[in-house]
Subunit: 294 residues, 2 copies
DNA sequence: CGATAGGTTGACTAAGCTCAACGTCGGTGG
DNA sequence: CCACCGACGTTGAGCTTAGTCAACCTATCG
């Protein structure tokens, strides 16, 4: 069963005799021998290297795998951080509940992604990781991994901060997007990003399935679900995408990217200022108008 | 000259014979002998430990200090990441330019803060670090620091990711704040956060000076400068704070905190749901209204 | 002492939120 | 098998918040 081959279909997983209990607590499987090496995702899986490293050094690294049905949580907000979770197949949303009952979706995760990298520093999970479809997740006991000594420990020393830093930059970008752009830019950027991430995993970037609800997208982007829906409809009406419920087709990648362009950080501020005044086709306002009224 | 003693006054720094050139490039001073140990900030300075560690192990660690006048940059967006910068005195804004000429302020930094922790993974600085007042910054050559071996290298291995992870969580919080709350909550949260950070550094949490412009605050919070101004005026009219230009007095901390309460992540989602329906005094709408029309 | 940057306030506008109605799909139970 | 239900998505109407534009004031700095 190859999780990379299918286009936008959910992989058919076997759920019958799973080695995890009903309450979905993360119970480590005892002593799989280098399961990461056998994993189809191995090449693209970031923390596989961690696992390898740890495995090579000490036999005590606890590693395991779990299958989750749509809607189940890999871990919950408030849980102790005991494992490093990696998505093997399927997709997740990372969400945390607000005091007033609403929830905020802080990220979406695909195969190969580390679930909540920020949890590494904190003692407890800030987010819950909820499967958006039937999914498969690997986990490595965190403590045992960090205790690993020797040559391969260098991987930990260098890969982990790098991963965190990358996540941090990603987070800053999203923040900027939400703080400084209008709904259409946010949605377009989100779709392009999702498309790109699918492409990186061998799926078609131009035709795919959104695994999350409009509500999830809205929460992620700081928009109401209605606005997400409307904006997508508007992009559809423009002919830039085709939306049919959660099925999505990208028709005008160039135009979508152009729409997001202003929201990207420029290079040297001075240089930015130069190109900002010169060859810009039309101010943002105009573009938004034409989008919503075409 | 003690940078911690003065209340809200800018520390009087001597700029006459500074060992950094006019273009403000980060030129390392040669071989100060453990300057971090002599630093008044040492106890509260996070990366001082890094420096110590590195210093103890290899004499080749390049470390230095620079003084910056208000408006000058410790580094610029696009610069190669060569040094780890730490604020010794004064304050900074971290900003990056957008392609359309606007700028986004991603963070503010105070004494003891690491400037742009996210830069550690990336080869180049994503932000410029601009002094909001005359300031003093320490820097350590990054490469030489990472090459340090031995016992104290453990500090690097553990402190750095922890710092990054903390920053990541902070960033997520801010994102949530911006995505899900109204202008008054954002401003109140910002003021409380600023106040708290000053308190941590020994300043009064109830009376202080904002070092950044309304524009900076707005950019940081995803608001226009006018909205920031108006919101502050409204809080003032309510008697919760006293604003006079950049001078600020906190009068009703409790009420301010209450205003932000809903925006905080709850504990267990289930528990959250329970308290959400019961003892909540008034829905958000009401509160916002009363704030703006009192 | 004028120039300039920053702050406040007002009037108007518009982007996006809320409320509501309606349609579709998929699951579940009679 | 069909009817019902709940979750999700779409679309419309009206309203609210915050953005825009503008005038004015003050402090600061050459």
């Amino acid at each position: 069963m190859d999780y990379l081959s299918g286009q936008t279909q959910s992989p058919t997983l076997d759920f019958s005799p799973t080695p995890c209990d009903v309450r979905m607590r993360a119970v480590p499987m005892p002593a799989l021998e280098s399961p990461c090496l056998a994993c189809k995702q191995h090449a693209s899986c970031l923390p596989a290297e961690f696992a390898d490293a740890a495995q090579n050094v000490s036999g005590k690294v606890l590693i395991g795998r779990r299958r989750l049905r749509k809607g189940q949580d890999a871990f919950r907000q408030g849980d102790r951080v005991e494992y490093l979770h990696v998505v093997r197949a399927g997709s997740f949303k990372l969400r945390f509940g607000l005091r007033d009952g609403r929830e905020h979706v802080s990220a979406f995760a695909l195969a190969g992604d580390l679930l909540e990298p920020g949890a590494i520093g904190t003692g407890r999970h800030v987010c819950s990781a909820t499967a958006l479809e039937d999914a498969d997740v690997c986990f490595v006991a965190f403590e045992s991994l960090m205790d690993a000594r020797g040559d391969s420990a260098a991987l930990l020393r260098e890969q982990l901060p790098a991963q965190l830093a990358r996540e941090l930059v990603r987070s800053q970008r999203l923040l900027m997007l939400i703080a400084h752009t209008s709904a259409d830019v946010r949605v377009a950027a989100f779709l392009l990003h999702w498309s790109q991430r699918l492409a990186e995993r061998g799926y078609s970037p131009d035709e795919f399935q959104l695994r999350m609800s409009r509500n999830d997208i809205g929460s992620h982007l700081g928009l109401s679900l209605e606005t997400v829906s409307r904006t997508m409809s508007a992009l559809d009406a423009r002919g830039w995408i085709v939306v049919e419920k959660r099925r999505l087709r990208v028709r005008r990648r160039r135009e979508l990217a152009q729409l997001c362009d202003d929201a990207l950080p420029g290079g040297d501020p001075l240089f930015t200022r130069e190109i900002a005044v010169a060859p810009r086709a039309e101010p943002r306002r105009e573009r938004a108008q034409s989008l919503l009224e075409a």
